[in-house]
């Protein structure tokens, strides 16, 4: 059983060496080359994938940075807009307050004006009523004696007339045309003596001889009114009451 054949031994050695060469040439080398190429391809693709991943990571970081910047910019813009809105709101509020204050002041002035007008109307009404009552009372008190007494006061005033009024009287008398006469209205008929005294006093005050025309006017209540051209001399209760009523209306 344990035969040993040198021919077989040597041929087996040669056979195996040839087999090694064949397998190395046609099996191991191509397969290993293919495996190396495949590994190299995998390595390249892995490196490419890693590179792509790095680029993607860089892009992601860039995107996140941009997003953060955008958020920050948005926040800044929003804060600025809030500040502008608050400023506008404050300005509008101040303007509105000012407008309201102005309107309030106008309203107060208008109310005060209305109140003053109402008060003036009331005063005028009261003055009118007082004038009416005073006129009624004075009409009841009027009498020729009172007119006589007022004539006396009139003559006394002519004598004590200020220079300025006397100059105005003389000027008015000078401007009278020759046919014109001084019109003297009295509430009661004047006596001849009173008419002469009035004529003399007025002519003396006017500085020239004047013609007179005496008339009665009951509307004067008591007293007289002398009309010398454009100058009128009042010495009667009606003109005094009218004067007081005008003063009350204007006051």
């Amino acid at each position: 059983m344990m035969q040993f054949d040198w021919t077989t031994f040597i041929l087996e050695i040669l056979n195996f060496l040839v087999l090694v060469w064949i397998l190395q040439r046609f099996l191991y080398r191509p397969v290993l080359a293919m495996l190396d190429a495949r590994q190299q391809r995998i390595k390249d693709e892995t490196e490419q994938a890693a590179q792509l991943r790095n680029e993607a990571e860089a892009l992601r970081q860039q995107y996140e940075q941009r997003l953060a910047d955008w958020n920050q910019q948005q926040e800044t813009s929003r804060r600025q807009l809030d500040e502008e809105l608050a400023q506008l709101r404050n300005t509008a509020t101040e303007n509105l307050k000012q407008t309201l204050a102005d309107e309030d002041a106008k309203l107060r002035v208008r109310n005060q004006t209305l109140i003053a007008a109402r008060e003036a109307a009331l005063i005028r009404e009261a003055a009118g009523a007082a004038y009416g009552q005073a006129a009624a009372m004075l009409q009841r008190l009027a009498s020729p004696q009172l007119t006589q007494r007022i004539v006396e006061v009139f003559l006394q005033d002519l004598l004590n007339m200020p220079d300025s009024e006397q100059a105005a009287l003389r000027k008015a008398a000078a401007m009278l045309i020759a046919a014109s006469a001084v019109e003297v209205l009295s509430a009661h008929p004047l006596s001849e003596a009173d008419q002469a005294r009035v004529t003399a006093a007025l002519s003396g005050a006017a500085g020239q001889i004047l013609q007179f025309r005496f008339k009665e006017d009951p509307a004067l209540i008591a007293g007289l009114r002398a009309i010398v051209g454009e100058c009128q001399l009042h010495a009667n209760l009606a003109d005094e009451l009218a004067f007081f009523r005008r003063q009350a209306n204007h006051g």
Partner: protein, 229 residues
Amino acid sequence: MNNSESVATTVFQLGPLAISNTVATTWGVMLGFVLLTLLLRFSRQPSSLRNLLEAVVVAIEGAIAEVLPAASVRRVLPFVASLWLFVLVANLVGLIPELHAPTRDLSATAALAVLVFGSTHWFGIRDRGWRQHFRHYVEPSVILLPFHIISEFTRTLALAIRLFGNIMSLEMAALLVLLIAGFLVPVPLLMLHVIEAVVQAYIFGMLALIYIAGALEPTESDISAIPEE
């Protein structure tokens, strides 16, 4: 399996050389490998056979890389991978009727063992040089030189005898069972033959790989020659 005889016989005469059935079967195995590699070479499309061969080569490369340094893997791979593939196929050939496994012939196993013996020195000298390679025979002491030499021959002899003995005994057992028990009875034994063929191929190739790794392994003088930083 030829049940008439279990020894190598001359099949034909090639000039002065008597070609035994062992050599003829080996040529048949080689022809099969050649056809397989040609089939792989001319098949451009991926196929199951191509994937299988790639897987086998990758597995063998991985097994070698676990034992040898990375720089020596591709250099040793053709020899060790061929040992594994050839011994495996040669062991399994015995399952084919009328054929004998070449590895049941001591001449064939001895040839493979001698090739392993020679390859260890070939790779050792090529990798480390004559002086460094043969220095390990006198390390750590010159006294160990005879023992190293005896070890070299005994392990080579053991390599040849182990493969021959296992495969020859398997075929003998199968033949005896077939003769005694009859047809189909030795089928379980043939299953054992398959396992044994794989195991013996693995052992043979792995021992060769370990012997080569021992030759490539740096000795104490190599380590001491490294300058300290």
